[in-house]
């Protein structure tokens, strides 16, 4: 995907003029945001640039003071993360929201368990463990996380990268439209990080757009299709790994280079 073709499509997720203030502090000052189908959009920015506030507004964790968000062209307003999730926006949190002593399949289906059909399912709310294990297995295979073979293995017995895999698989498993990943490689070693980056690419190749929040520039430049640089509460620029180098991106991020929104150097 290149920047040339991206703007011709309608964005999956779009935001315009988002403002969020906490007391005297203006975290977002008219921020815009676009995510296109089938792309990995990295969001980078210095501390205090409004990066996490932007993501919180999109994922329903915060309600913006003003501005509008569209999901697939339809205006949406999320009052909490569950509403965003119901609409198909899934977040993988840095603190990996998994239940360590439950097994992999249980974690994949946590909060939206499959139930048996008929009376035992609807009234007794009995679990369809077989179907969940089956689905979990095929999902994990799909994503190439086949180092995990036993779906009834407790998550706490997995390595950090495998846990991340479970968290990612869960986000991607339920007809989600957008997956937000908050620093997915921050706690991982080199090999495990690569595996997670591959997983992110796999999801993208299956057509799922991904928002990747990361401080790790090499990782960002390795997988991102486009890079949203948040600066001073607004979108400072959008660049691509092809159009800019890592140090140029960092220069824009820190304000060392002045640019317009499309990453062209502002000569005025």
């Amino acid at each position: 995907m290149t920047t040339q073709e991206a703007p011709t499509k309608t964005p999956v997720l779009e935001a315009k003029g988002l403002v969020k203030r906490y007391g005297n502090v203006t975290a977002l000052n008219g921020a815009d945001f676009e995510l296109f189908p089938g792309e990995i959009l990295a969001v980078i920015g210095d501390n205090g640039a409004g990066k996490s506030t932007l993501i919180k507004c999109i994922s329903g964790a915060e309600v913006p003071d003003s501005g509008t968000i569209w999901l697939e062209g339809k205006e949406v307003l999320f009052k909490n993360p569950l509403e965003a999730r119901a609409a198909g926006i899934e977040a993988v949190y840095q603190t990996l929201a998994v239940a360590p002593s439950l097994d992999i399949a249980s974690n994949l289906f946590l909060g939206r368990e499959r139930r048996r059909s008929g009376f035992v399912g609807s009234v007794l709310r009995m679990l369809d463990v077989g179907a969940m294990n089956e689905h979990a297995r095929s999902r994990m295979t799909d994503l190439g996380i086949m180092t995990i073979q036993n779906m009834s293995q407790p998550v706490e017995t997995l390595s950090g990268g495998q846990r991340q895999g479970v968290a990612v698989a869960r986000a991607a498993a339920f007809e989600s439209r957008v997956v937000i990943m908050d620093e997915p490689t921050a706690a991982l070693g080199v090999k495990e990080s690569n595996r997670v980056l591959n997983l992110i690419r796999t999801l993208r190749d299956k057509g799922l757009p991904i928002i990747l929040i990361s401080h790790d520039m090499p990782h960002v430049f390795e997988v991102a299709d486009r890079i949203h640089i948040q600066r001073l509460g607004r979108r400072g620029a959008i660049v691509t790994p092809q159009s800019h180098t890592m140090s140029e991106a960092v220069a824009i991020m820190t304000g060392a280079t002045q640019v317009d929104e499309h990453g062209a150097h502002d000569l005025s």
Partner: protein, 348 residues
């Protein structure tokens, strides 16, 4: 994917679950690992060993009549421990179990004996009292956000005082009550052993709760809430609602224990169940349920209750002073918690 991850290429090793590599561990680590994956194995071994030891030490220990006596002795605490397990699974603790049970039993007995309320209605009102007590605990925990220890320490005294007030500190005799309230004391013979309906009721409750915890959404959510509450909440589980329901269900179970208690002592005494709080926690802990929540099996609690019963009974038959029974149970608790801590550090 390369195959350096555990489980990628290894064949299945019998002790561990399939797909995990246990070959690089020491024997001690392997034991730790197995106990970690099989929560009820430890208590089962302890129960088996104690049965063997006491059957050697005391001649009449394995008599059917003695076995049925042990079951009679543990059925009240065992039933209470079902509710206690639910609460401990959510990383809580319930100190008001005994007080709720006694209050419910006094309500049932008083309504039937003094107010002339029909037996079934008296029983149902008694159940409702237990449920209401659980609801109060649950609301204080979820709405006022007080720690369960403090909530139930407070309601322990409140419920117990209410019990003394309603009963006027007097025991209600069984023959003044409706026979339905004493039904749990009825006996059937099974292979020479006399088993009360109360004991069967307890076993059925254990089986029912084991099923619910393993196979229903509610059970799954109880574990998830106790395991990591924030993670459960982010996953869309309404953790406050789960917690509240756990306290309510536990309260109802304590009221069933009240019914079993009346059958056992053929009376309702306001002083009964004074040691039930700690005894029920003891059974849960010896049964391998972690006080930190999210880990444990209800069948472990049954084993835990039986272990305590077997120790007390066996030491008594061996002619050992009662104070050493308490000593032994105390040591069991310490060992059980120490093992739990150790298992939780499992390298996995």
């Amino acid at each position: 994917m390369d195959n350096t991850q555990p489980g990628a290429t290894d064949t299945i090793e019998p002790p561990g679950p399939p797909g995990e590599d246990t070959s690089s561990m020491t024997t001690l680590q392997r034991i730790q690992h197995v106990l970690h994956t099989r929560a009820t194995l430890g208590p089962a071994i302890v129960l088996l060993l104690s049965l063997i030891v006491f059957s050697i030490v005391a001649d009449n220990f394995l008599q059917p009549s003695n076995i049925s006596l042990i079951i009679q002795q543990v059925m009240v605490v065992g039933t209470l421990a079902i509710g206690q397990t639910l609460i401990i699974l959510t990383a809580g603790i319930d100190l008001s179990v005994g007080a709720i049970m006694v209050l419910s039993s006094i309500m049932m007995a008083k309504l039937s004996a003094d107010a002339g309320v029909p037996g079934l209605l008296a029983l149902l009102i008694g159940f409702a009292v237990g449920l209401l007590c659980g609801l109060i605990n649950g609301l204080l925990v979820t709405r006022i956000k007080l720690p369960p220890f403090i909530v139930t320490l407070g309601t322990l005294n409140v419920f117990f005082a209410l019990n003394l007030y309603i009963s006027q500190s007097e025991t209600v005799r069984g023959r003044d009550m409706d026979p339905l309230l004493l039904w749990t004391g009825n006996v059937i013979e099974i292979g020479g052993a006399r088993v009360t309906y109360g004991a069967i009721l307890m076993l059925l409750l254990f089986a029912l709760m084991a099923f619910i915890l393993k196979w229903t959404m509610w059970g799954r959510h109880v574990y998830a809430t106790g395991d990591d509450r924030e993670a459960a909440r982010l996953s869309g589980i309404r953790t406050d609602r789960v917690l509240l329901s756990v306290y309510v269900v536990a309260g109802l179970i304590y009221a069933v224990a009240a019914w079993i208690l009346i059958g056992r002592i053929a009376a309702a005494s306001p002083q009964a169940g004074l040691t039930a709080n700690l005894d029920s926690i003891t059974a849960v802990v010896i049964g391998g349920t972690s006080l930190f929540g999210g880990r444990g099996r209800i069948l472990g609690t049954l084993l835990g209750a039986l272990i305590v019963g077997v120790f007390r009974n066996g030491l008594q038959l061996a002619g050992i002073d009662e104070l050493w029974q308490n000593f032994a149970v105390g040591v069991l608790v310490l060992v059980a918690v120490a093992i739990d801590q150790w298992i939780r550090r499992a390298r996995a």
